[in-house]
């Protein structure tokens, strides 16, 4: 680790990271400041606390960059195990906030281990897949890789925090990149499509559509002499899935989950009750117009109409106060950052580095997709933060660690060339 190592880090990524953190903070300031003439430093307000978190992450970054690259690969397994343990121990020592036991309370500071588990899982997966002994075309190895991803997710779901657990689906992308069959991703999409369509149309219609589709494909493939029994099986499986979705939705889901889906699917429009969040966030964003109302001038932001505005709904402040131009800028920054990370991942010499880089991009992407999709009313309400933007120390630190381990890996990668 020489001084030249710092020069090799990818300054574009660092610049994008700093930009997002900075823009995020000024919006947290706007969303949480009550009186601009009051003293700036006030530890009751989120923007001051976030400033402290940001300061601490800078120290964290220096530490991460200072640690030898080999450390991350060598200790990936251990880090992963510690992370799993921290998730498991929540059920013993955790603090419950907003109905979810996702937090440790350490002397007044709340720490959310699931935010750190993403980086740990990414390291462990990269280590496993990057191992020379591992062959991803073998089912056994695939199963182990899935297990690495599934364990933390399974620990997170019952907290309950299904939103954070959902993020682990992001690991499908690095696995696909490393050679597992596209069928897994296709199956994932197909299941999602079946899920949504079943809720929209109901089981009987789905049965008709599935059967019709199967018959069509069967006729098209007639020259290949398809076996009717397989098609029958596929139809039955699909209809069975559809039926189980219906059953789970109506009998296993709680009403608030059902409501969230129904709002997005347009089956319900209760703007005061369950649709309030989405409606208010659309109003806030929509009222921004081309250029927005100006920093700290947002009426919706000032009036606290949007719930959780400093955290999951921070993008509404961007939309209202900076308008279409400002929010598009944020979108562009995210897209460029994601593409840049993927670009860096592709040029990694080691498979470990590539898998890890891919995991970083995938996790950030799923957060970005679900969060912006939620606040713009395109996806159901799933409470996960916008990386680098949303208020919260654990989140900011988790994403910082995730990203900067990769920055370090990348810097060493080129350094040794």
């Amino acid at each position: 680790m020489g001084s030249s190592g710092y020069l090799k880090i990818d300054w574009l990524t660092v610049f994008l990271f700093l930009s997002l953190v900075f823009i995020g903070w000024i919006n947290i300031y706007s969303a949480s400041v009550a009186d601009t003439s009051a003293p700036f430093i006030n530890f009751d307000l989120e923007y001051t606390k976030q400033l402290v978190w940001i300061g601490l992450s800078v120290i964290l970054i220096i530490v991460i960059l200072a640690v030898d690259t080999k450390f991350y690969e060598r200790f990936a397994g251990l880090i992963y195990l510690v992370s799993l343990l921290s998730l498991a121990c929540l059920y013993l020592f955790g603090t419950t906030i907003n109905g979810a036991t996702s937090w440790y309370n350490l002397g007044g500071i709340s720490i959310q281990p699931s935010e750190f588990a993403k980086a740990a899982t990414a390291l462990a997966l990269a280590k496993y897949v990057g191992d020379l002994q591992t062959n991803m075309s073998e089912f056994q190895h695939q199963a182990r890789a899935f297990l690495i991803v599934a364990l933390p997710a399974l620990l997170i779901v019952p907290q309950p925090d299904p939103g954070s657990a959902l993020v682990y689906a992001a690991f499908l992308f690095p696995l696909y990149r490393e050679g597992i069959s596209g069928v897994y991703i296709l199956l994932g999409f197909a299941a999602a499509a079946l899920f949504v369509l079943t809720l929209l149309l109901g089981v009987p219609w789905m049965a008709v559509i599935i059967s019709a589709l199967a018959v069509l494909i069967f006729i098209r493939n007639k020259k290949k002499k398809p076996r009717p029994s397989r098609y029958l099986l596929a139809i039955l499986l699909c209809i069975g899935f559809s039926y189980s979705v219906d059953y789970i939705f109506n009998n296993v889901f709680e009403q608030r989950h059902r409501d969230r889906f129904n709002i997005v699917l347009g089956k319900e429009t209760d703007l005061q009750g369950i649709g309030y969040n989405t409606n208010q966030s659309e109003i806030a964003i929509g009222s921004g117009g081309w250029t927005g109302k100006g920093w700290t001038q947002g009426t919706q932001t000032k009036g606290n109409f949007v719930p959780e505005q400093q955290t999951d709904y921070i993008f509404t402040t961007v939309g209202e106060e900076w308008g279409f131009l400002g929010s598009t800028l944020v979108i562009v920054l995210f897209v460029v950052l994601l593409i840049r990370i993927l670009q860096l991942a592709e040029r990694q010499k080691s498979q470990f580095g590539r898998v890890y880089g891919y995991s970083v991009a995938s996790i950030l992407f799923v957060h970005f997709l679900v969060n912006i999709g939620m606040v713009t009313g395109l996806l159901p309400t799933i409470g996960i933060p916008l990386p680098f933007f949303s208020y919260g120390g654990s989140g900011l630190w988790g994403f910082t660690i995730l990203l900067f381990i990769f920055v370090k890996l990348d810097a060493s990668n080129t350094h040794y060339q």
Binding site: F173, T299, K302, G303, F305, L338, I339, F368, T376, G377
Partner: protein
């Protein structure tokens, strides 16, 4: 291939979000409005309405504070309805009805819940209203009348209805607007400009201070005071004279066109249409279909003018050169034509010249003059249209453009009217078919306002100003330009003198000689207008209307007046006396003919008006 999936998804996702943001922020502008209604509360501050004064500076109308309980339906929460109803002293059913109406109007814009509380009720409620979410008390100002007369002139203010709100976005539910008379005509000046305060709210609807430090807020601007041309004393006297009679009095200052008095009878106390009782009183007045107090007979009553019209017949005859001041025309007790006697006449010397014709109101004389006027042209169509051309120059047969919001055009028929009436060309018609017009019967119709206007034009010897009631708008330099512009009639000034001479003789030795007032030279013309009604589908003649037009003094006239008394029989019986009293009151300020005053004040025509409704046969003109 495998390394393209995720970058592709990232790009697609970025594009989809950008499009969605474009839709939300730029394309669909409804979110801006939603945001405003969400986070910013608008509060209005209502200014004082302008005062109304008479021409002598006497205050007629001022203001009194009033308090409305307002409701914003969507903000009503956790309401103890029973307790609330008890507080406001209303029934549960009323509560539901009013709330439903308010919801229908708008869930987020305030609607009046209980309008116009008294001061006592306000003091009691203002403390308690705080605890009921969605309700508040709005201060407004209501009219306070300093006089008990002139209701039809002053008009009234009332809550805006939905049609007005749709047409004019200035107004909101529960606000007040001038609905009739001067209040309506000069609404834009009287109302002033309401002040607006924008207040930032949070999601609990709690006010957290002025929006953007109040840069959009405005202060209310007080309404302009206005001065009317009417003389309050004369107006009041006129209403006293018209008690128990139906009809109207309208008096102008000929030199300016200023309306000195405008009395429609029966009338009512303007204070009836103020405050919470307004609605009930209005309904009562509205459904009085027999005496019709809301029907302004001066502006809306279209009557056959009767004999006063003869002055016009004479003027047109002179202008057309078909009669002269010296020619004497014989009368045989009726106007005879084609072996029939379409127009009877009464006893008077014969033959008569122009002055005598007017003084004695000889039907034959004016029938002759009229016929010659029409027959001067090759066809009766041309003749009628030319006759009408002269009359139109006196402001007749049309809405006159005075500054009161109600009125009727009257009727001066043209050739097309008669062509239709007589089914020309299947049947032909000649001047004699319209001969009744010569004496102001027939098809000619006028409102009393039109009668006084042509009288003023005669008094001025050929010109007039449009009648108007506005004398001054405080804070404005001028009144509308059409009231400071002179209108010329088509009759040469020279022709007026003999007609005025005749009208002077009417008063000196003619049909109105018994109303003479010492020291005032009045020129007038009586009228006794036949009229009909329908009872059970049958045309029934009623007692004649009593009509009188006059101006005084003869030289430099100060007042022109038209008086119309429904079913008052001959012209000088009621209308002439009333006109005389009004003229004396205006010029002298006091009444010398107390005998005449007592007769009018004590006289009643209610018995006459009851006749057609009695269901029994009755006799007329007694």
């Amino acid at each position: 291939m495998r390394n393209l999936l995720l970058p592709g998804l990232v790009l697609i996702c970025g594009i989809v979000f950008t499009v969605r943001l474009f839709y939300l922020q730029v394309y669909d502008t409804s979110f801006q409005a939603l945001s405003d209604s969400n986070a910013v509360k608008v509060e209005y501050d209502y200014p004082q309405r302008g005062y109304i004064f008479d021409r002598n500076g006497e205050l007629l109308v001022s203001n009194q504070p009033s308090y409305d309980v307002m409701v914003i339906p969507r903000e009503v929460k956790d309401l103890d309805t029973l307790e609330f109803c008890g507080l406001l002293k209303i029934e549960r059913a009323d509560f539901d009805r009013i709330m439903e109406k308010a919801w229908v109007y708008s869930p987020r814009i305030p609607s009046p819940f209980i309008p116009q509380l008294t001061k006592g009720e306000y003091a009691y409620l203002s403390e308690k209203m705080r605890k009921y979410k969605g309700f508040y008390i709005q201060k407004r100002s209501l009219r306070e009348y300093q006089v008990q007369h002139s209701a039809s002139v002053l008009g009234y203010i009332a809550e805006v209805n939905e049609r007005i709100i749709n047409e004019n976005p200035y107004y909101q539910m529960g606000e007040l607007i001038g609905m009739q008379g001067v209040e309506k005509q000069y609404e834009d000046f009287l109302r002033g400009e309401k002040g607006v305060k924008y207040i930032q709210k949070d999601r609990f609807n709690k006010e957290i201070g002025p929006f953007k430090e109040g840069i959009y807020d405005t202060l209310p601007i007080r309404g302009n005071d206005i001065v009317l041309t009417v003389d309050s004393k004369l107006q009041e006297y006129g209403e006293q004279l018209m008690v128990n009679k139906r009809g109207g009095i309208v008096a102008l200052e000929p030199a300016t066109g200023e309306i000195l008095a405008l009395v429609a009878a029966p009338n009512y106390d303007p204070a009836l249409l103020v405050g919470r009782e307004r609605s009930r009183n209005f309904t009562r007045l509205y459904y009085d279909t027999i005496s019709r107090p809301l029907f302004d007979r001066v502006l809306q009553g279209e009557y056959p003018p009767g004999s006063p019209f003869k002055s016009l017949t004479a003027l047109i005859g002179l202008q057309e050169g078909v009669i002269s001041t010296t020619e004497r025309i014989s009368c045989y007790g009726s106007y005879n034509y084609g072996g029939r006697k379409p127009l009877g006449c009464h006893h008077h010397p014969s033959p008569l010249n122009l002055v005598g014709g007017i003084a004695n109101s000889c039907n034959s004389y004016f029938a002759t003059a009229y016929r010659r006027t029409i027959d001067k042209y090759d066809t009766p169509q041309e003749g009628i249209d030319n006759w009408r051309y002269h009359l139109r120059s006196f402001g007749l047969g049309d809405f006159m453009g005075y500054d009161l919001p109600s009125g009727r055009p009257g009727l001066i028929p043209d050739s097309e009217f008669y062509n239709r009436y007589y089914q020309y060309p299947t049947y032909r018609w000649y001047s004699t078919a319209t001969i009744s017009n010569s004496i102001g019967q027939g098809e000619v119709l006028m409102t009393p306002m039109q009668m006084v206007n042509f009288t003023a034009a005669i008094a001025n010897r050929g010109w007039y100003y449009k009648p108007h009631i506005i004398k001054e708008i405080k804070g404005q330099d001028t009144i509308p330009a059409i009231y400071t512009q002179r209108y010329q009639t088509t009759i040469d000034a020279a022709h007026f003198e003999p007609v005025i001479e005749g009208m002077f003789d009417v008063y000196n030795k003619g049909t109105a000689s018994h109303i003479q007032i010492p020291g005032i030279e009045i020129c007038g013309k009586t009228g006794t207008a036949e009229n009909y009604t329908k009872i059970d589908g049958q045309r029934v003649q009623l007692t004649d209307h009593s009509v009188f037009v006059a101006f005084a003094p003869k030289d430099n006239p100060k007042i022109a007046i038209a008086v119309f008394v429904e079913n008052g029989y001959w012209g000088s019986r009621w209308a002439g006396r009333i006109a005389g009293l009004m003229i004396e009151k205006y010029i002298k300020g006091e009444i010398s003919r107390t005998d005449m005053e007592a007769f009018v004040l004590n006289g009643s025509l209610e018995e006459e008006y009851a006749k057609p409704y009695s269901g029994e046969p009755f006799s007329i003109n007694q």
